[in-house]
């Protein structure tokens, strides 16, 4: 079972990478884009197929190591298809 995790900087925290990419996008004349935030995409593959167990563990992993609560938020999605 796969869990797809996204970690992003909390709102209000400056994202210098996002700012640089925004400038590049605007330079390409995509003036409609007004902000860019860059995050991380992490995929966890679990041996266990029990969704409840996997979800509990995935959440704990996100809290414990994949994100830093001082500056980041996370969300995850469980993919049940093998």
């Amino acid at each position: 079972m796969k869990v797809k995790v996204t970690v992003v900087l909390k709102e209000g925290i400056l994202d210098p990478q996002g700012k640089a990419v925004l400038h590049a996008i605007n330079d390409l004349k995509f003036d409609n884009v007004q902000d860019v935030r860059i995050g991380k995409h992490i995929e966890l593959t679990f041996k266990d197929q029990d969704k409840i167990v996997v979800e509990k563990e995935a959440k704990e992993i996100c809290q414990k190591i994949l994100s830093n609560p001082v500056m980041e938020n996370f969300e995850y999605q469980i993919e049940e298809k093998p």
Binding site: L9, I13, L14, P16, Q17, A20, K40, I65, L66, N68, V70, M71
Partner: protein, 231 residues
């Protein structure tokens, strides 16, 4: 005083810290691999700069789970002096021994240069050999040294005099222009509430002797060797 310089995979300022304590300050000093779980022989612990685990995930995020960190957390509660420099500071915030986090410099660049620091609190076990508001010149070398914390946490740091160093101008003014990386309130180094854990982005071990330009860093490293009793 026996000093442990912890080596994580990817530490690269460990030798500088070792030489500073062993050769310049003449202290018994050991390199200690991060798999070690017993630090009972040491009164001072140095978490050196570098790129532990290649800065993967976040700076310090993986090193904080090294076996030695359990022992360091334990020793921090017994009052052992612990100094985290650069990546060591990042490991201390990741482990929760210090509040806040270190995020990417606002200019997205790796900055390697001398900066001016003002000693904001010289009544600590890490700065008592400095004068109050003394201006030190110490090098920085980092990409993720932008200290961030919530306003609530910042107020706690201020209320408890936990801000030990701020980036300043050559005259000692705390101004945005003197802030190399975007750190909140020009913070360059903080201490925990008990006063025995210090984290700082600048590298005192890189100028612990005159040969390296000046020896301002020595004042910090030497402060750890003497007992300091708070009023």
């Amino acid at each position: 005083m026996k000093v442990a310089v912890i080596i994580f995979p990817g530490s690269n300022c460990d030798h500088d810290a070792y030489i500073a304590y062993k050769k310049i300050l003449n202290q018994p000093t050991d390199f200690v691999w991060h798999k070690e779980t017993d630090l009972s022989a040491y009164q001072i612990i140095v978490l050196p700069g570098g790129f532990s685990y290649g800065d993967y995930l976040r700076c310090g995020a993986i090193a904080r789970f090294s076996p030695v960190m359990k022992e360091i957390v334990k020793k921090s509660k017994n009052g052992t002096k612990i100094i985290g420099i650069c990546n060591g500071f990042q490991i201390l915030t990741e482990s929760g021994l210090l509040s806040g986090a270190l995020i990417m410099n606002t200019n997205r660049k790796f900055i390697c240069k001398d900066v001016y620091l003002r000693v904001e609190n010289n009544k600590t076990g890490f700065t008592h050999l400095c004068k109050d508001e003394e201006i030190l010149t110490i090098p920085i070398a980092h990409s993720e040294g932008n200290y961030y914390c919530s306003i609530e946490e910042l107020n706690i740091l201020k209320d408890n005099n936990q801000i030990v160093f701020r980036y300043c101008s050559s005259d000692g003014d705390i101004i945005p222009k003197a802030n190399p990386n975007g750190s909140i309130d020009n913070i360059a180094g903080i201490i925990n509430q008990s006063g025995n854990v210090l984290g700082m982005m600048p590298h005192p071990e890189r100028n612990a002797e005159k040969l390296m330009g000046n020896s301002d860093g020595k004042k910090i490293l030497a402060s750890l060797l003497q007992d300091f009793i708070r009023d």
